[in-house]
């Protein structure tokens, strides 16, 4: 019976993983296509499309924009989230609850609606469509996540530690930068990396809030308008590679540290 169940389980997992990985395998395979359409039969392998993409300043520029928007907006989100989590952890009254609810609220609203709201606001206020506008949008979506992660880490231990530091004469900013931040380092890094990957991949808000100079997902979107194109496969494979690199680095930084300690 158990053998039989294992067999069924194995088969099911095989089919499910096949489904999950099929499009990615096809995407990467046809990024090495030699001819003009990423459709069977496979004519490669060739690095032609990688060359075209990496030699095109439109894509490399958009990639740089994406990194800049991602790094800056994530840093702002982590900083604001960290300060707020630290403050909120010491507010045990109703006001604290209300502030927590407000800061988490954007999590339950679609990116489309957050983006539309900013379009209307910026339209009225005369703020032009720009990378700055996208950066603001990305802080809006990442701040609640950073806050939630960091708030969950503000244990009583940290409050006690902070009291000890203050008793020893540390000032508020010293407590924050020399005591609380180092202790919460893994959580800070985790929220930064999570924000960065979400911002790096975010399309809709960037699509709504930029015009000429834009981020990579929007540039890819523009490329896709003209139909199937092996260039899109090549960019997709590059983006996949970059994302996996980030995840592996974060894994090493966060969990590698954790295992050393235990």
């Amino acid at each position: 019976m158990n053998r039989f169940l294992d067999l069924i389980a194995g088969l099911y997992a095989l089919v499910a993983y096949g489904f999950i990985y099929l499009p990615i395998v096809v995407l990467v395979l046809f990024s090495f296509q030699a001819s003009r359409f990423p459709l069977p039969p496979f004519t490669g392998p060739s690095l032609r499309w990688y060359g075209e993409v990496l030699g095109d300043s439109k894509f490399t520029g958009a990639m740089v924009n994406s990194v800049v928007v991602g790094v800056v907006s994530s840093a702002v989100a982590v900083l604001l989230g960290f300060l707020a989590a630290y403050g909120c952890a010491r507010m045990r009254d109703r006001l604290g609850g209300a502030i927590r609810a407000l800061l988490i609220a954007p999590l339950s609203v679609s990116y489309l609606i957050i983006g539309m709201g900013l379009v209307v606001l910026f339209n009225w206020a005369g703020v032009p469509k720009s990378l700055l506008a996208v950066g603001i949008g990305h802080v809006v979506i990442n701040l609640p996540l950073c806050f939630a992660i960091l708030y969950s880490q503000m244990s009583d231990n940290i409050i006690r530690l902070e009291q000890a530091a203050r008793d020893l004469g540390a000032r508020e900013w010293q407590v924050l930068s020399l005591v609380v931040a180092p202790v919460l380092w893994p959580a800070l890094l985790a929220s930064f990396v999570l924000s960065l990957t979400l911002s790096w991949d975010e399309f809709l808000i960037a699509f709504l809030l930029t015009r000429f100079e834009t981020t990579l997902p929007v540039e890819i979107w523009t490329l896709l308008r003209s139909g199937l194109n092996p260039k899109a496969n090549a960019i997709g494979a590059v983006v996949f590679g970059v994302s996996i690199l980030m995840v592996v680095l974060a894994e090493l930084a966060i969990f590698g540290k954790g295992t050393k300690k235990s």
């Binding site: 993983y17 069977p40 604001l80 707020a84 957050i114 379009v119 606001l121 399309f203």
Partner: protein, 277 residues
């Protein structure tokens, strides 16, 4: 330390985040709501009247709800067994690797992930080629630019998400529950229906709710895979600000979508609470 000093600190700490969220989240929502009631130079209900009297707009909302519910349903049914396999059939030391393998495709660009389905579903794409070559078909199937393609693209994404939330739930399940059920004479099926399934319901509901919210607000997958033969709400909204530059109507449609999502949230929350008592 005096009370006023604590408050001053609190303002400095919490203030920036609160101010930012108020200014760039609350104010935009209010601005959007106000904009949705403007038209013809003053306040009006025109945008909402437009929505209610235009059958194609109502159709878009119905399409959105249909697609989202079908997608959420299929995703739960496919992801549940996979989460079970991961949590209970894969040896402990391999689970971390298996889990990584499940979420690895998350890291492909979202836009590119939808596009990669186009490579498979296009008229001369991989699926049609394979079916034609195997002799199962003699005419290529129209797969791209259909609702089926949208559903496949969504399900692909949400299987990964739901597998995670349900897996986490399975891991919290103590084996003693099942032992107790078996000791009391329950069969495997009875144990599953009356013990395991109700206890993993929170994981299903969290994942299903996330899938619902993400799917109903998504523009990329329906636009890329479903095309514009049949419009979903997000496509209709983007169309208003793109081609027609009608911001007030787009705002009204966004607000309607937001209300639908809120209703789903309330329904889900109440249901979950009921299950827990």
């Amino acid at each position: 330390m005096t009370g006023s000093k604590i408050n001053w600190h609190m303002v400095l700490l919490v203030g920036p985040a609160v101010l930012f969220t108020a200014l760039f989240f609350l104010v935009p929502l209010i601005a959007m709501a106000v904009a949705s009631f403007t038209g013809g130079g003053g306040l009006s209900l025109d945008n909402y009247r437009h929505f209610l009297t235009q059958p194609s707009y109502i159709r878009a909302l119905v399409n959105s709800l249909e697609v989202t519910l079908v997608v959420t349903g299929i995703s739960v049914v496919v992801a549940y067994p996979l989460a079970w396999v991961l949590a209970e059939r894969v040896p402990e030391r391999w689970q971390r690797v298996a889990l990584m393998l499940t979420i690895l495709p998350f890291w492909t660009s979202y836009v590119v992930r939808s596009y990669s389905w186009l490579l498979l579903l296009a008229e001369r794409g991989v699926v049609n080629r394979a079916l034609l070559a195997s002799g199962l078909l003699d005419q290529p199937l129209q797969l791209a630019n259909t609702r089926t393609a949208t559903v496949i693209g969504f399900v692909h994404f949400f299987i990964m998400l739901l597998t995670l939330t349900i897996y986490a739930n399975f891991r919290q399940l103590s084996p003693s529950y099942r032992k107790a059920a078996a000791d009391l004479g329950a069969s495997g099926l009875q144990t599953f229906l009356h013990v395991v399934l109700p206890l993993t319901l929170p994981g299903i509901m969290v994942g299903a709710f996330l899938a619902f919210v993400l799917a109903i607000g998504d523009y990329v997958t329906p636009q890329l895979l479903g095309g514009s033969n049949e419009l979903l709400m997000p496509q209709l909204i983007i169309q208003q600000i793109g081609r027609r530059a009608d911001l007030p109507l787009a705002a009204a449609l966004s607000l309607i979508l937001m209300i639908v999502i809120s209703i789903a949230y309330l329904a889900c929350a109440r249901w979950l609470k009921l299950e827990r008592t």
